[in-house]
Amino acid sequence: MSLDHHLDDATLLQYASGNLDEAFTVVVATHVAMCDTCRHAVRQAEELGGGVLEDAGTAELEVGSFEHLMLRIDDQPADTAPAACVAQVSGDVPAPLVRHLGPDLGAVRWRSIAPGVRKHVIKQNSASKSSLYMLHIAPGMAVPEHGHGGSELTLILSGSYTDVFGTFRRGDIADLDEHVEHQPIVDGDLPCICLVATEAPTRFKGFFSRLLQPLTGI
């Protein structure tokens, strides 16, 4: 898929090094699943990990470590059938999101939280300070100009919106930090469905959480 809006390189490096929290990891991985360019870029960033692993030092292993390893390997039952491969599931939900959402966007259970805005919170496995959720925003809906309290990633899964950075369509990601101000407007006749991760805000709420604040108390 050819996309217009990609990840910030700094976010990409954080993803490759494994130090984003779960909410941000899921959004980045979902974009990466939809974007050949970023998949290639992640592999390049992982080469940095390989380079650092090669020359950032060694620590002595315990005596007999290898023999112990081979005993453990020999002890294991022969490989059982591989786990169900989510990549082969057909539907409009990209692979890394399928295990959180199921294969079809149409089956998501929305909760109306404001006129024209519906929300679905995605449960996370780990205790994460960031939130992960989906939004379903009605066509034509304009959001007041706003800034961000922390980082926010917004991945479009369906429909589109336009702001000062351009038009964001399926697969595009808005990788915004706390200094950005924008005013997205949902385009066309279709609702815009997006996947959002927001960092726990320090001062202000992020755009979407602010939008939701009156009704959800977040």
């Binding site: 910030d8 390189d9 700094a10 490096l13 954080q14 490759a16 090094s17 494994g18 130090n19 984003l20 779960e22 990891t25 899921v26 980045v28 991985a29 990466v32 699943a33 050949d36 998949r39 290639h40 870029a41 992640v42 592999r43 390049q44 960033a45 992982e46 080469e47 940095l48 990990g49 390989g50 380079g51 650092v52 692993l53 090669e54 020359d55 950032a56 030092g57 060694t58 620590a59 002595e60 292993l61 315990e62 470590s65 290898f66 112990h68 390893l69 453990r72 390997i73 490989d79 491969c85 989510v86 990549a87 082969q88 692979a95 890394p96 399928v98 295990r99 496995n125 780990s126 930090d177």
Partner: protein, 197 residues
């Protein structure tokens, strides 16, 4: 006999000729060659342990994660594709995932979903046809040529697994500076790798 000289050639504490690593991988995948696997273990085991210690693991925990990582390598070695990346980068990703699962009590599932995608993908993956060995040399060179301040941030991110905001706090730098050093370091790496196209 072939495996024996490779075992000797790859010393524990030197950066090996990377072709030798790729050969080891194919011996392990094709012949389940235990001598080759031992050579790979002697090279990467101490490095993975150092990585886990720097990420905050206790020594016995670090030792256990080394075993888990190398068990995964043994099990998945046939999935390694030299045209996609170096052996070191591949093993780094397995160590990274184990760190998330075992040390951070998180889930590396999102990363393995992407791996699965690439495995089933029918498109040839050769946007660049770099050989693993060329790639490793380019990356090592790019890293060694980074200014100290950028290199340090890359090491903190990959080796110690601390986030951008934690790096900013630790080094008493604005978050924006940390991010821009990361971007610069990555841009240099990309240049080096694109050179080979």
């Amino acid at each position: 006999m072939q495996a024996a000289w490779r075992v000797e050639e790859i010393e524990e504490n030197s950066v090996p000729e990377t072709d030798a690593l790729v050969l080891l991988m194919s011996d392990i995948a094709g012949n389940r060659d235990r001598d080759a696997f031992k050579a790979l273990f002697m090279h990467f085991g101490p490095r993975i342990k150092a990585l886990m210690l720097k990420s905050g693991a206790r020594p016995e925990q670090a030792e256990d994660i080394v075993q888990i990582v190398m068990m995964t390598v043994w099990r998945k070695v046939h999935l390694y594709a030299p045209e996609r990346g170096s052996v070191s980068a591949w093993i780094f990703t397995i160590a990274r995932n184990a760190r998330i699962d075992r040390l951070r009590r998180g889930s590396s599932q999102a990363y393995t979903d992407i791996d699965d995608l690439e495995i089933v993908s029918e498109e040839p993956d050769g946007e660049d046809n770099l050989f693993a060995s060329q790639r490793t040399r380019k990356v090592a060179k790019a890293l060694s040529e980074l200014p100290e301040d950028q290199r340090h941030i890359i090491e903190l991110a990959f080796m110690e697994d601390i986030s951008q905001s934690e790096i900013a706090t630790r080094l008493a730098l604005p978050l924006g500076t940390v991010k821009s050093r990361m971007r610069l370091a990555y841009a240099k790496l990309k240049n080096k790798l694109e050179d080979l196209k």
